[in-house]
């Protein structure tokens, strides 16, 4: 998609009318385009008025039910030092976790020790490269509830990107963990992640995909596990392309 086309997506974006891949591409563009960020900011206010005009009182029992759940729910830690856009920070975090996972599990290519900023730039290039690689295959991940996710794998590059939406925050002290399932059923623990505030998530995984049959996601204690301790909440079979 050309940059000119991306500028026109502000409307569809604030109306939540982009599919997950289009949304990720547009959000990457947003990180670099101040005009689009400003337009998104303004149009979000406009769209909020359209939404708020639908005001309907919820069932009264909901109030107590929400307060009870809030009372036992921990808040997320605030973002540290607003160095750069939120989008870039997420990428940084995602990449750091991915790098740690790759090192810890000794899988695939070891991510080199470039500085965080360089890595982010490289990361964004990587995403474009993965998605546009001639051997890239896309598989839908079947997930529980409202969550949905797609995995795009480029075996020649040894990389995969997972994008998801509608992903519920895990319960306290738990995170999501990515697993690669090889042809013999062996499970290789990869990065852990938490969805963003809006339920979206993006994750790049570096590994040798030549013998990988599926990508799975489980809920694990913070820090991740060496072997899954729960049934997967999502599985994408790489043979079943969409």
């Amino acid at each position: 998609m050309s940059t000119e086309d991306l500028h026109l997506l502000t409307g569809a974006y604030v109306l939540d009318s982009l599919d997950d891949l289009e949304r990720v591409a547009f959000e990457r563009h947003l990180a670099d385009c101040e005009d689009c960020r400003n337009e998104v900011h303004e149009l979000r206010e406009t769209v909020a008025q359209i939404g708020a005009a639908e005001t309907t009182p919820p069932p009264s029992a909901l109030r107590q039910s929400v307060f009870a759940e809030v009372a036992r729910t921990a808040q997320l830690p605030p973002h540290v030092a607003p160095v750069t856009s939120q989008r870039t920070r997420r990428w940084t975090q995602g990449l750091a976790v991915a790098a740690v996972a790759v090192l810890a599990f000794g899988l695939g290519t070891v991510v080199t020790d470039r500085s965080a900023e360089q890595t982010v730039v490289a990361q964004e290039d990587q995403l474009t490269q993965i998605v546009s690689a001639p051997d890239a295959v896309m598989a839908a991940m079947k997930m529980k509830g409202d969550a949905r996710s797609k995995v795009i794998v480029s075996p020649s590059q040894g990389k995969a990107v997972m994008v998801g939406a509608g992903i519920a925050a895990p319960t306290n002290n738990m995170v999501y963990q990515v697993w690669l399932v090889d042809d013999n059923g062996g499970k290789h623990g990869m990065s852990t992640f938490e969805p963003n505030a809006d339920g979206t998530a993006e994750m790049v995984v570096n590994a040798d995909f030549s013998n990988i049959a599926a990508v799975a996601v489980t809920v694990e204690p913070v820090g991740g596990s060496k072997q899954p301790t729960s049934d997967p909440v999502g599985v994408a079979a790489l043979g079943e392309q969409i």
Partner: protein, 195 residues
């Protein structure tokens, strides 16, 4: 929000109650959350109900969104937009997630197949009920071109993706995205002037 002046304002007032409360909630203030709930529950449930349609599912999604607001309020940054926009972005996204989830979309496809494409005029005229904001928003929507209004309504009220809309309306994708954007820019300008 609560002001007697009911003009629809696009530029967020820095001191509006929702933005202020949300910032307090971000510091862990549960009492502020209860107050915030009373300000926003109608907006959140209303927009989710509009998209999801089914009241019990809408209630479930509303509960999820409210708890998400609590969890994520620590990351709310008033410099990046009003509390209202932050809350409504989250609520609408979750409503759309619900209707796009696998099972729901199968059911929906059946219903949509039987539905007329030209729903726009119904959407505008069905609400004889007078809520000032609602009436004004609907009125502003009627002042858009048919194509601007239809694409915005199919996306926002029904949760359709731009590709689905292009298919339904038999329009090129490029036309759909430009009509959405043009329409929202016209709405933004109209709201700034005051309805």
């Amino acid at each position: 929000m609560m002001q007697p002046d009911r003009r629809l304002q696009v530029v967020p007032e820095p001191e509006d109650a929702v933005t202020r409360l949300l910032s307090q909630v971000g510091r862990g203030d549960e009492a502020a959350f209860r107050e915030l709930y009373d300000h926003i529950a109608g907006w959140v449930y209303g927009v989710i109900l509009r998209v999801v349609r089914d009241p019990s599912q809408s209630e479930e999604v509303t509960q999820e969104v409210m708890v998400e607001i609590w969890r994520n309020a620590t990351r709310f940054d008033p410099a990046r937009g009003s509390g209202k926009a932050w809350v409504m972005t989250m609520a609408h996204r979750r409503g759309v997630d619900r209707v796009r989830s696998a099972q729901a979309s199968i059911e929906r496809d059946h219903k949509v197949a039987a539905q007329s494409v030209d729903i726009a005029h119904d959407e505008v005229s069905e609400q004889v009920e007078i809520r000032l904001d609602r009436q004004r928003v609907r009125h502003l929507l009627t002042e858009l071109t048919d194509m601007q209004r239809q694409t915005i309504e199919l996306a926002y009220y029904k949760g359709f993706s731009q590709r689905e809309i292009a298919e339904k309306l038999d329009l090129p994708l490029g036309t759909v995205k430009t009509r959405m954007r043009d329409g929202l820019i016209r709405l933004r300008d109209a709201m700034e002037v005051g309805a």
